[in-house]
Symmetry: C2
Amino acid sequence: MKNYDVIIIGAGPAGIITGVTAKKQYPGKSVLIIREEEKGLVPCGIPYIFYKLNSVDKDAMGPKPFIDLGGDVVTDPVVDVNIKDKTLKVKSGADFSFDKLVFATGSKPVIASFIPGFELKNVFYIKKSYNYINNLFNELQDKKNIIIVGGGFIGAEVAEQLAMHSDKKVSLVESEDLCFSKAFSGELSEIATEQLKKSNVDVHTSTLVEKVLGENGIVTGVQLKGGNNIKADAVIFAIGYKPNTEIAKKAGLQINKVGAIVVDNYGRSSEKYICAVGDCSQTLGFLTGRCDYIMLASTATAEARVLGYNLFGIKIKNSFSGTIGVFSTEINGVAMAAAGLNEKNAPFANIEFITAKFSDVDRHPGTLEGTSPLTAKLYVSPSDGTILGGEVWGGKSSGEMINTVGLAIQKGVTVYELMSLQVGTHPLLTNAPTKPVIIKAAEVAISKIRTLNK
Amino acid sequence: MKNYDVIIIGAGPAGIITGVTAKKQYPGKSVLIIREEEKGLVPCGIPYIFYKLNSVDKDAMGPKPFIDLGGDVVTDPVVDVNIKDKTLKVKSGADFSFDKLVFATGSKPVIASFIPGFELKNVFYIKKSYNYINNLFNELQDKKNIIIVGGGFIGAEVAEQLAMHSDKKVSLVESEDLCFSKAFSGELSEIATEQLKKSNVDVHTSTLVEKVLGENGIVTGVQLKGGNNIKADAVIFAIGYKPNTEIAKKAGLQINKVGAIVVDNYGRSSEKYICAVGDCSQTLGFLTGRCDYIMLASTATAEARVLGYNLFGIKIKNSFSGTIGVFSTEINGVAMAAAGLNEKNAPFANIEFITAKFSDVDRHPGTLEGTSPLTAKLYVSPSDGTILGGEVWGGKSSGEMINTVGLAIQKGVTVYELMSLQVGTHPLLTNAPTKPVIIKAAEVAISKIRTLNK
């Protein structure tokens, strides 16, 4: 039985970055990644396979940086883990033993088993699997009428991309009154839903799918609650993901109420020697410390860096406890991004906040060609002015501006501090120095707080 | 004699933002801005007047937001200030009295009076004046051979824009061995100089202008040290700016060794009731507290916001003392940005640092169309890992990414903290979550520090 100092189950972003970081920090340790498939995918790139990349292989991702550092990789699904003996078994029958084991098994799509007809042919999911997506890509080539069920990031992005094919009719069915409503505020969800409609997607909000319809075992459409039908050659469910933790559970690890492996701030599970990282591991809200559902590659890799460094003892303090959740997307050429608290997620945790917003354009003077609108919205504690959340939308730079907001949240920066924030501006790259949207939104927040205190 | 609670001299970004902020915070106070010209310009937009905007008026900026808040504006140059009487006189002869006076008189180009021939016709400067630039714009229409002297931001940007006219031959003469070398590190200056050459500018580095040549009082070229001549129909000197403080000096205010008005952290001068803000006021380095030469609209507006809030008493703490200097530009389609310390400015102040760099692309997967290279470089204290400076270059988002680095510098964030920084990533907007360039550069820095400590 071959022994490794560290075995990592899973070769997604969390697994690879844990492996890379561990090999860099502990070059003398033997590290093995065990994966299910030969090829991997950049998870957030999957929607773009269906139009912009028009290729599965252009979205491929592999463990090369890990192998270059001397890491080993085995392709053979893990079927069993024995915590007591510190061993595991793979599908082919081989056994491995380990000193440290890392679960980086990710998440998998929620199956629509509660909807009659879900088992028909041409019902699909967005599984983070090369082989599965490769098959889906091929299957969709000749499908004219496609229904996406679920208007979160992945569903909406896949719908937007498929709708760019002039020969396809794409419908999206969302149970909430707006798309993106789990991650974005009402205001931004509305903008995003509007852009989705403009990208030629037939969007049905506040709509439930009652039944998947078929003939001879093959999908022909969906029946909506209320009685209307939509015709389809393919139905793609994008109704959420859940932690992939069956093996961890079977092995006896503690699992939380959302199905994730319980870990501390350093990815250490209830069992000594066993860690977990990324989508399969527990996420706690940054303000509340409560269980959260956020599953993001960027969060997973942050956890993976912390875990890789600290596998054999805490060397680098995890400076930010809890997960903020920094989301971004682009629909119909409009970039939209959010971090932390907003009107949608704050009430669940009974958190007081005020909002403040400022709009301008992303270049200066605004007469420059290629100028896009740009808006920043801040969610602020009315007591001390701390920035609890933010949204930025409009031009492409929104995708990086939200990271300034993210850092501000993580460092507990207040709107008062933002008044003296020094920023860099340039006509061709940013909005004007006289009105940087994040700082101006902070100024609006200060006025609101002052009015409240009167 | 009309009295105002506040009089601001100057209607550039510093003057307008001081006025706007003051009127918002103290709506009951009467505020007057006195300016020299009817029309104003967005200062950093000036280079783009010469090609991209191809118009002076498209770069116009006015005090409308200030007037909308009830502010008054007078166009009439101030000729004298009497501190004791709290009065001032304008060119037309009128007098005003004030309770608070703010100097926001900006900066003016250094005149090439030390170079023979500097007074010839068709020798120009980049003056931040609508009338002057309007005339320059018209004068340059029929000029074929143009020489820019000085390869800092303004000179290089003007050269790049003029060189886009296919009928113009543009040469740039820089005394240092690279352009941009005051704000950028050697490495980034080299990249910037290379891009300038690629934009069809004939760049002469390590070259001094000995004499401006002319016939019948009109420029015909320049003579370089060493003997070579370059032919020219126009010569534009962009050899720096100095604080515009003659009136302040005459009035008896304390002026520092670089000619700027001495002020405290809140823009308050040596005289009670008199403040100064922006390019005409003292700048102190954020690490050293020593006099610095940084003149940036973005810094000026940050100072103006702080001053506007605190004109009648400190209401909002200035959270960041000293000026970091966040610069950005785009040459030949390559964005380049810098904040704080680098190899060029650190040795002056004898500051120890290590550098760490990471390169990737600005989209993921990198196979997406429109992907640009992206590099982050950090300047880090080897003792405690504090981020002292940074540079980001490549794709357009560099212009906003430097603001994340800027916030990190201002909040004293360490490279260790960046290991657990949560960022948002998206295929169409940012680089990959597995290797965010700023975080990866921080990782490289940690390894370097560890090696040093061995």
